[in-house]
Amino acid sequence: MFARWQNLSGPGWNTLTQLQDEMNRLFDRCGFNGHRPAARGVFPAINMWEDGESLLVEAELPGLDMKDLEIYVTGTDQLTLKGERKPNVPADSVKHRQERGFGNFVRVLTLPYAVDASKVDARLEHGVLQVRLAKHESAKPRKIPVKAV
């Protein structure tokens, strides 16, 4: 697939890709954080980081309690966030404005690394969910000693 693109592209195309790469590097240097919004209708939006030991998944879920939320790890690399946001309507009142959404949601994420399902830690703080997943031993980076000859 990649090779075919290469074949199709003439010298002009190469310049374009180079320009695009240059622009990307420029944005990276200027602190552009590579924000790519989730597609419409996808809820919740997530941010994900990794370090050598673990993966951290974060989602904004205001108004949810831990009891409204189910978190599963399936196999070695699937994370499911499932829950319901319930409306809070005061008694004997008229609705003037409703912008906040309610209902059920499920989001299944395929993780970029195998994780150890027994080492998952989730917490909810001020409406932000943080799930820390320990990478599986096989997915952790290994330092290769270089021997002097």
Binding site: G34, H35, P44, D51, E60, P87, K95, H126, G127
Partner: protein, 131 residues
């Protein structure tokens, strides 16, 4: 009756309406507003804002809501960034019938609830009709 909106992501402020010192994007919190005989109740989604970092004040008929968001701890390399971090800001114009001295607010799980009681004279009164 309004339809219930679907679950959605927060939206960026198109015009901030106020000078913003911290830089970065600013967001308009999504709100619900209800009215009963005694009060108006406002709910606002402020994910990532600690109760101590909410600044709510009432001045000349305006209720100004500001929330300073916790920034993520920089940990390792970003793999996916589907949403951004930024403070929340929104201004509401209130009727004079609100008893500004009795406004109460609380924040729980990232949702702010503001109770805006109506002034006594603005509350509906049942009139007894004598025979």
């Amino acid at each position: 009756m309004l339809e219930t909106p679907e679950l959605s992501q927060k939206s960026r402020a198109e015009s901030s309406g106020a000078e913003h010192l911290r830089g970065g994007p600013q967001f308009v919190p999504q709100v619900d507003i209800y009215e009963s005989d005694k009060e108006l109740v406002l709910f606002a989604d402020l994910p990532g804002v600690a109760p101590a970092d909410i600044d709510l004040h009432y001045e000349r008929g305006q209720l100004v809501l500001q929330g300073k968001v916790m920034r993520p701890r920089q940990e390792g390399t970003a793999i996916a960034t589907e949403y951004e971090y930024g403070d929340f800001h929104r201004v509401f114009q209130l009727h004079e019938t609100i008893d500004s001295t009795a406004i109460e607010a609380e924040c729980n799980n990232g949702v702010l609830t503001v109770h805006l009681p109506k002034e006594q004279k603005a509350q509906p009164r049942k009139i007894n009709v004598r025979q």
